[in-house]
Assembly symmetry: C2
Homo-oligomer: 182 residues x 2
């Protein structure tokens, strides 16, 4: 087991019941009734109907001032009141990945306000990013969001805002999986 690597397994059991799986762009995943999240390793899991591997890494675009703001207000996963969640795997295009660091940062923040938008919904919407590109996975990122039922509308606003940005033009595949804590 490696501390920063997790498997997200769609199957017959898990901590989260899957309410809805909606393909936003590109191919969907097979329907599954539950999502299990477990600490893992680099070895591909064969459990469940599907399994996605993601790893926690260092921050790639966030600058010092943004980082300090985020740290001062963000909430951890696992708050008892946060009984709703969303698992959103996305894949970006090859065009995105061949851009230089400054070109990606410019689209990410100057044009798309990715961090600024996320900050608006903190601490209500807790968020954790897992990287999957480079390890043979079908997606580039998995973002896991957790929130209380009373913040459902705020969450819809957040995903709506992000999806209409310049950055999202580089998203080739996205599935929106909604969850409720069992």
């Amino acid at each position: 087991m490696i501390d920063n690597i997790f498997d997200f397994i769609g199957g017959n059991h898990g901590q989260w019941k899957i309410l809805k799986m909606e393909p936003i762009v590109g191919e969907t995943l097979k329907q599954a009734p539950y999502l299990k999240i477990v600490k893992s390793s680099t070895v591909k899991s064969s459990e469940g109907v599907w399994s996605l591997k993601g790893l926690i890494s260092n921050i790639r675009y966030t600058e010092k001032e943004e980082k300090e703001k985020l740290i001062s207000i963000q909430a951890d996963l696992g708050r008892p009141e946060a009984t709703k969640a969303a698992l959103i795997p996305i894949k970006k295009s090859e065009v995105w990945w061949t851009l230089a660091q400054d070109e990606r940062r410019k689209i990410f923040e100057a044009q798309s306000n990715h961090t600024k938008t996320g900050l608006k919904y903190l601490p209500a919407i807790a968020r954790k990013l897992y990287h999957c590109r480079d390890i043979g996975e079908p997606f580039d990122f998995i973002t896991f969001f957790e929130y209380a039922p009373s913040d459902s509308e705020a969450f819809e606003e957040l995903v709506y805002s992000l999806r209409k940005t310049e950055e999202w033009k580089y998203v080739d595949r996205e599935i929106d999986i909604r969850l409720i804590r069992e």
Copy 2:
């Protein structure tokens, strides 16, 4: 097999004969006579005396103008005249990894001229970077350099220049492994 993942195996055979293994900072690796480089997967190899896994990823600091310069003059690995090589695994400190993107970029280029220094020695010194952080490996990066015997002095200059930079103050472990093509 995953196209962007490679194993670097120190053992009894391989494409490269190990001439010297010198720990620059921190613990060394066990002595081995040969280095084998093979396309791999996320599964840890048990071959050899030691094995390091590294993956090719997107660029993390290089900006558009630098990227264009690099592409216009860099050489690929595998040139017949490039019979000398160096495998240099390094690990950076936790302090480095908790810095924000703009703080790391500033140290990397504004203070340490990492890209500018590399550019000075192109196309003579071919260079490939493999990432190992986040996948349970003991190092964060492996850099593989290849050059002709007539460029040996230039290569010594390059590693000497990099090691005295501000960036290198964040290097916690480094081993310099020198190779000759078998």
